[in-house]
């Protein structure tokens, strides 16, 4: 019997058990529409599944019963005992048929005309008062339909009804074997709630910990406990494995939607693709399975849209017309490997390079210094896409970075190999389970930490006397490893545990000691973490960190070791990110030191996302930098809360807002949505169609008072409305910005220069278009240091807006040093901060700010600017352009 049929039997027998009791409950409470709906739904499902599986007899019986239920539902028939009896009889017949089906793998011969006729008579109302007993003109093995049975049913107390037929069957001498049959499948597989499995898993995790503790206690001792502890250890491992297996599901479950997806994509793109899947029976943790579903879909989309060429192009290059897309999954050493391979055109380095430069992710000189694999890694950068134009398939610039984030979130890695003209192969390596991982225990700055084994590629011992020693490139430690230079990161340093110094130097003092270097690989970035000691590998139970520690990116969780101590689990991704940040700040410090000009000249260019919404032809634009993601939501999954549309997005309810109030919601299909994110809050802007992404000069003509429109810009020669994201954010999330901004005035200098100092790209991008639209020439600095280096270059501004909370020098310190000396000592200076308690305002004033604007009230910025400038001019001390 195939799995499909087995599942069907299990499920249907469960449904029937429910139906038995519900039908009886309905008889007692005929007006209860909830019960009726339930019954109807269950019967409908049975009918539908039977039809799908080609079980004609079952389908006919279920169909007929459903017909009666429909009549009851539509109040065309009342719930009479006769009707209930007939429905129960139909249920019994379904059970009997299922029993035979289970026994033989197919429906038995014969028909159910007797039952169907009775049901039909009921429908036409003929048999309402007394049901004429169906004539048992059926073969020996047909189910009993005796009048006695019906009589009994009617006589019996309602709750007993469901059980009566079984008793009657036994009395009438039917072979009992048949009666137990239907239960068999149900007994082989039971449904257990996921919650129960999760709590079992938690308990097993605790058990593993206790076991580890015990092992530690008896280790090296000749104790009477040694043997029982060993036994306990074995049993624990078995239980762990068993429980873990209960959570396993074949990866095929995540693949089930792909053939359809591929078919649709082929239709859409006119390409021909042969999808081959192997290893779909490979089991993995359901939690992991959920997490990789979306990445897989994304990658299959990408492979077809970017990878595999159009048939004509394929024929030209001597390839078969039909492209091959293969998905393979298999186990390998505690991990699951999933390969997605296409025989398409491969990744084009030149196009990626061009795109990198276009996106200003790197300069040409930087690119020239990079090896090809390094350049290819840029496909994982947020916002990167080489698609020539935005299609509905992919190329929305939101693909691979999300894929990578999702995979890394579950402790997996993604890698790829690509040959131009031959195709691309992505390999995803993910752990079998998230709950228990193998980790290397290390020590740094007197504390122990766990590093997930999956990210560790090797361990190196460095000593000044050996060949492997730490060398210094300026402040950056490196290690020569097999003819390559491996960048090193001191764990103590990035954890701020190397007191007294603020650069990488402290390790130098340890130059005489032996150091251990844990070589990690994150994506294509290989680096070494310098630690003091390395202990052994342990199976650890990953526990999430407390909410108040969640924002420390260096830790992915914490755990309890065998000796009972609590240690933090390091997140190699976080360390890699911290390392690159460190490098940037180092280079900035150097720039500042040698007085090199900080190239931050704002050239007024911005990338816009062009979309259509509402009106037939009119294009609208939004600065792409403000858009966190582009999504297509399944319209069926859009829900309503307090009458407003919301969508379950990454574990949160996200409000959805149409660009136009008179938006007509689709009934089905997919809805393109622009997602805006700031901190924990997000909002989805519903548009009709995403048209393109273009880069152009930001020349926004300020608009007349049109709500939601910032102004009109000429983009690609066309007048395009630039929408005011803030307006929609305010509408969607009343708490996002507080009260609406005040309308702008016009009393600003002719072409004033404005410096905005803010580390948050979101806010920079939010206020820049508005201020540019008002005629300001906006220059941006990402940190106070960057701003001060502009000052030291002698650049002058008519006003400066600064954030308060910034990494490095904060806004207060910045204001003090601006006021203290230098050419900006009299410039109008405005603070922009999320914190606007009276205390903050006072502190801001004493530091030298002229005004203090709340980020929640960012619309007031222009007013504050005018006022500050006027005040300064009145004092005769205005900033100099």
């Amino acid at each position: 019997m195939d799995d499909l049929l087995r599942d069907f039997l299990t499920e249907t027998q469960e449904s029937l058990a429910v139906l038995d009791t519900e039908v009886v409950a309905l008889e007692q409470d005929p007006t209860n529409s909830a019960i009726l709906q339930d019954i109807f739904r269950l019967m409908h499902t049975i009918k539908g599944t039977c039809g799908f599986l080609g079980l004609a007899r079952l389908e006919r019986v279920a169909h007929s019963a459903e017909g009666i239920l429909a009549m009851i539902r539509d109040a065309e028939m009342t719930v009479s005992p006769a009707a209930v009896t007939e429905i129960l009889q139909a249920l019994d017949r379904i059970k009997w048929l299922l029993g035979r089906l289970e026994q033989n793998g197919q429906e038995p011969e014969g028909d159910d005309s007797d039952l169907l006729a009775a049901l039909d008579r009921l429908k036409t109302g003929e048999a309402a008062p007394s049901i004429p007993p169906p004539v048992p003109q059926v073969p020996q093995d047909e189910p009993p339909q005796g009048p006695a049975q019906t009589a009994e049913i009617q006589a019996a107390e309602p709750p007993a009804v469901a059980r009566v037929p079984v008793a009657a069957n036994k009395e009438s001498g039917e072979p009992p074997a048949r009666e137990v049959r239907p239960g068999e499948t149900a007994n082989q597989a039971i449904r257990v709630s996921v919650d129960l499995l999760e709590s079992l898993m938690t308990l097993v995790s605790e058990l593993v910990l206790t076991r580890n503790q015990l092992i530690q206690m008896v280790r090296g001792k000749d104790s009477e406990f040694t043997a029982p502890v060993q036994r306990l250890s074995l049993i624990t491992s078995d239980i762990q494995e068993g429980v873990m297996r209960t959570r396993m599901q074949p990866i095929g479950n995540a693949w089930a939607t792909l053939p359809r997806l591929v078919r649709d994509l082929c239709q859409e793109t006119g390409k021909k693709v042969d999808l081959q899947m192997s290893g779909s029976e490979t089991d993995l943790d359901r939690q992991v399975l959920e997490m990789i579903k979306d990445p897989l879909t994304h990658m299959v989309r990408n492979a077809i849209d970017h990878g595999i060429e159009a048939p004509a192009q394929r024929l030209q290059t001597g390839k078969p017309e039909t492209g091959l897309l293969s998905l393979t999954a298999f186990h390998e050493g505690g991990h699951i490997l999933i390969r997605i391979a296409d025989d398409g055109q491969g990744l084009m380095v030149d196009r990626i390079k061009a795109r990198i430069m276009q996106q200003e992710l790197a300069t040409e000189t930087e690119l020239r210094a990079m090896a090809e694999p390094q350049i290819l890694q840029y496909i994982f950068k947020p916002g990167f896409s080489t698609a020539e134009r935005v299609t509905s398939v992919s190329g929305r610039g939101v693909g691979m970075d999300v894929v990578r984030t999702n995979i890394e979130r579950i402790g997996g890695t993604i890698d790829f190999a690509s040959t131009v003209g031959r195709g691309t192969t992505f390999t995803i390596k993910i752990p079998l389970t998230l709950a228990i991982v193998s980790a290397l225990i290390i020590e740094a700055a007197g504390e122990r930490f766990a590093v997930p084994q999956i990210s560790v590629s090797e361990l190196v011992r460095a000593s000044p006397r050996s060949e492997q020693k730490v060398e210094w490139l300026n402040d950056a430690p490196v290690l020569r490893l097999r003819d390559r230079l491996l960048p090193l990161i001191s764990l103590a340093h990035i954890l701020h545990r190397d007191r007294g110094t603020d650069n990488g130097a402290p390790i130098a003092s340890k130059a005489s000691d032996d150091l251990f270097i844990v070589v990690c690989q994150v994506g294509a970035f290989t680096f070494g973490i310098i630690v003091d000691r390395v202990f052994d590998t342990e199976e650890i139970v990953v526990k999430p960190v407390a909410p108040m520690l969640k924002d420390i990116a260096l830790f992915s969780g914490n755990t309890i070791l065998g000796d009972g101590s609590v240690i933090m689990i390091l997140d190699p991704n976080g360390i890699a990110a911290a390392a690159s940040q460190m490098a940037i700040s180092r280079s900035q410090n150097q720039d500042a030191a040698v007085g090199a000009p900080a190239p931050r000249a704002h050239d007024d260019r911005a990338t816009f996302l062009i979309f259509r919404a509402g009106e037939t032809d009119e294009l609208k634009a939004v600065p792409l930098a403000l858009v966190a993601r582009l999504e297509e939501f399944n319209v069926g999954k859009i829900e309503h809360s307090h009458g407003k549309p919301v969508y379950q997005y990454r574990g949160h309810l996200m409000p959805l807002l149409p660009v136009r109030a008179d938006h007509v919601w689709k009934n089905a299909g997919r809805q393109p949505v622009l997602v805006f994110v700031d901190g924990p809050r997000s909002m989805g802007l519903v548009v009709d169609e995403i048209v393109d992404i273009v880069e152009d000069r930001m020349q926004v003509e300020l608009s007349a008072d049109r709500e939601g429109v910032l102004g009109t810009a000429i983009i690609r020669g066309k007048a395009t409305d630039v929408i005011d994201v803030g307006y929609y954010l305010r509408l969607a999330l009343a708490d996002w910005f507080g009260p609406a901004g005040t309308p702008y005035g016009d009393n600003v200098p002719a072409h004033p220069r404005l410096l905005i100092v803010d580390d948050s790209a979101f806010f920079r991008n939010l206020i820049t278009p508005q201020l540019v639209a008002e005629g300001w020439q906006v220059i941006v600095a990402k940190s106070a240091d960057e701003a001060l280096s502009l000052r030291d270059e002698g650049q002058m501004f008519d006003a400066v807006i600064s954030d308060i909370e910034m990494p490095g020098m904060n806004g207060y310190e910045f204001a003090r040093s601006v006021r203290q000396d230098g050419v900006w000592s009299t410039v109008p200076l405005i603070a922009l901060s999320a914190h606007t308690a009276e205390r903050d305002l006072a502190r801001g004033r004493s530091a030298g700010f002229d005004d203090y604007v709340s980020k929640s009230d960012y619309g007031r910025v222009s007013i504050a600017l005018q006022e500050a400038i006027k005040r300064k001019q009145a004092e005769g001390l205005g900033g100099v352009s």
Binding site: E447, A546, D551
Partner: protein
């Protein structure tokens, strides 16, 4: 706390009405008495070895292992901006939004049942930080007992981590 008997409604003629009386675990931090609703308290532990969490806010002392659960330890001295104590403190483990936290304090008093009529709102002149984490004050004979709001105590920007730059 010796005041206990005076406060408990032992008067037989006036049976204690439900809701008029609340039970609190009392504790001292830097010479001040604080109370936490007894239902919020999971455990009282002696001095524990605390594993440090690098980069975390200084208010967070670290983590301890409470029978296989990892509990975040909050230094109440720092949280309430009181001078640090050099003596080994005690731990009161409380539950907040499904997570366990341990409050590191100087000593634990007894569980006390207090009449709500002795409960007073916070004086407006009280320190703003304390006002932001407390619910009210009980007038006891000889001392005042400040009732802490666990949710407020464990919430807010006070716990912002030291970011890597």
């Amino acid at each position: 706390m010796t005041e206990r008997n005076a406060l408990v409604a032992t008067d037989a003629a006036r049976p204690p009405a439900h809701g008029l009386e609340q039970e609190y675990v009392t504790m001292t931090v830097g010479g001040h008495w604080f109370g936490v609703p007894v239902l919020k308290v999971q455990d009282v532990l002696g001095h524990q070895r605390v594993a440090q969490v690098p980069l975390a806010s200084p208010i967070i002392s670290g983590s301890i292992n409470l029978r296989g659960r990892i509990v975040t330890v909050i230094d109440l001295h720092r949280r309430l901006r009181l001078p640090p104590s050099d003596k080994p403190g005690m731990n009161v483990v409380v539950e907040c939004k499904g997570e366990l936290y341990s409050l590191m304090i100087d000593s634990v008093g007894e569980v006390t049942s207090l009449l709500m009529e002795r409960f007073e709102p916070l004086p407006t002149t009280m320190d703003a930080l304390w006002r932001s984490v407390a619910d009210g004050v009980f007038r006891l004979d000889g001392s005042l007992l400040i009732i802490l709001d666990i949710e407020k105590l464990l919430d807010g920007d006070a716990f912002a981590s030291v970011h890597v730059t």
